[in-house]
């Protein structure tokens, strides 16, 4: 049963008419054409579909679009600003935080959610926070190093610093 909703995605308000069963991930990808958000496991385990809903990291594969009515949503497309990558994105490029790329939007959105609430996390805090974002390529160290790098060199000394292998 279709319902009218408003989603503000990356700062742009969209009026949509969607069936109640429409998942947020499908709404983003198919109704709004924002295919940066990926769907992996479809049961909330892998983290590929992570987006921010009112600032909270959320599995868009388990979220009904109608339940997000009125929400502010940030996807991977909303991070770069005026042609410049977000510092977390740049760190993933610089530190090889991705290979095939399918998990990367979710990894970066989860990392953003962490740094938004905890700007200088310790390595252990990063590991615990990121445990729900699976990657089959990198072996995780490069992801960890990318996030540490995104904290910034000065802060990293107070926080995670060198990554322990």
């Amino acid at each position: 049963m279709d319902q009218n909703i408003t989603l503000t995605v990356n700062g742009v308000a969209h009026q949509l008419e969607v069936p109640a069963r429409r998942l947020l991930v499908d709404c983003l990808r198919y109704d709004l054409g924002l295919t940066g958000t990926k769907e992996g496991c479809s049961v909330g385990v892998c983290g590929a579909c992570t987006v921010l809903v009112n600032g909270n990291m959320t599995a868009s594969c388990l979220t009904l679009a109608v339940a997000a009515d009125g929400a502010e949503i940030t996807t991977i497309e909303g991070l770069a600003y005026e042609g410049r990558l977000h510092p977390i994105q740049q760190a993933f490029v610089d530190y090889g935080g991705f290979q095939c790329g399918i998990c990367t939007p979710g990894q970066i959105m989860a990392a953003k959610a962490l740094l938004d609430v905890n700007p200088i996390p310790t390595e252990q805090e990063i590991r615990e926070w990121m445990m729900g974002n699976l990657c089959r390529c990198t072996g995780y160290y490069k992801i960890l190093e990318s996030i540490v790098a995104a904290i910034g060199p000065t802060q990293a000394q107070e926080g995670a610093g060198e990554v322990n292998r």
Binding site: A20, V43, G44, N56, T63, L64, A67, D69, M131
Partner: protein, 290 residues
């Protein structure tokens, strides 16, 4: 997913009225982490979904007003809020610690405390800890409200004592008794975000001369609900807290559990591990006692 009608009530009265109108055709949804998966898998096919997230007043963590030092947690609090709440950490730290074991931070940001409890999955982390603390849930309907001990509320596999027209609004958790220690152990041989193979929670109050003044013990993931191991408690209560007595009490849980064979272990293995983790939980709780 089969389509359905989605309702956004903004008061409990509206929820009651929707429940009255749609009865068994309706399901309530809070975080949706369990229900959406069940709907995707067509295990649950509601014609109406009642969204509770816009009902105000049930998302607060506060100290219980009777001055007992306990906590009252609104059903719509996310599990992450409980896991990271300074108030919970200061008041009943074992509750925050237990919620930090649930799934992953992302799921904890979505899943609510009340939603988790009414879901009634026997493998969840919070129920064993909440049972050992003597937690109760409040169920409200158009006709009034009642309070039920969590150990009585969990009836069977995915079955709880929510009656037609009722909404779980809060969980009340008494403080850990003075001098007692608490522990929650999650045996997790696979991945960190998995359900436990076996989980055990204990609260131990040592008394004069190292005699066990009181003990509470509950197990998760080894039966159709979280199991309150009263037989083991009775065996230890009043006895000296010696290694042998703790072992003997923990051994009794093997007769109380009824685990399933699955990829987390065989039923026999889980039964053996139930005893091991019951013993370790009692010992950890004793170590944590001040």
């Amino acid at each position: 997913m089969i389509d359905f009608q989605f309702h956004n009530p903004t008061s409990l009265d509206e929820v009651f009225s929707l429940l009255d109108t749609y009865g068994d055709d309706a399901r309530m949804m809070a975080g949706g982490t369990a229900l959406v998966i069940q709907m995707k898998q067509r295990l649950v096919l509601p014609e109406h979904v009642i969204n509770l997230r816009r009902v105000p007043g049930f998302a607060e963590i506060r100290q219980t007003s009777n001055g007992s030092g306990g906590l009252t947690i609104g059903a719509l609090c996310t599990q992450q809020e409980v896991a990271t709440s300074p108030l919970v950490e200061q008041t009943i730290p074992i509750v925050a610690q237990t919620y930090r074991h649930v799934a992953t931070p992302r799921i904890r940001h979505m899943a609510t405390v009340g939603g988790g409890l009414v879901h009634g999955d026997p493998s969840q982390d919070p129920p064993p800890t909440l049972i050992t603390l003597g937690a109760t849930v409040t169920l409200v309907s158009a006709n009034g409200q009642r309070e039920v001990a969590l150990s009585d509320f969990l009836l069977d596999y995915y079955e709880t004592d929510v009656r037609p027209g009722e909404v779980l609004t809060q969980v009340s958790i008494p403080a850990v008794p003075s001098g007692a220690g608490a522990a929650y152990l999650k045996f997790l041989p696979r991945t960190a975000d998995d359900y436990p193979t076996v989980a055990a929670a204990a609260v131990v109050t040592p008394g004069e001369g190292n005699v066990c003044q009181d003990v509470r013990l509950a197990l998760g993931a080894v039966g159709t609900t979280a199991i309150h191991a009263t037989d083991a408690e009775d065996a230890l209560r009043g006895q000296p807290l010696t290694e042998n007595n703790i072992r003997a009490a923990a051994a009794l849980v093997k007769d109380l559990v009824d685990p399933l064979d699955d990829y987390r272990g065989s039923a026999d293995y889980k039964r053996d591990m139930s005893e091991v983790f019951a013993r370790r939980a009692i010992q950890s709780a004793l170590t944590n006692a001040s």
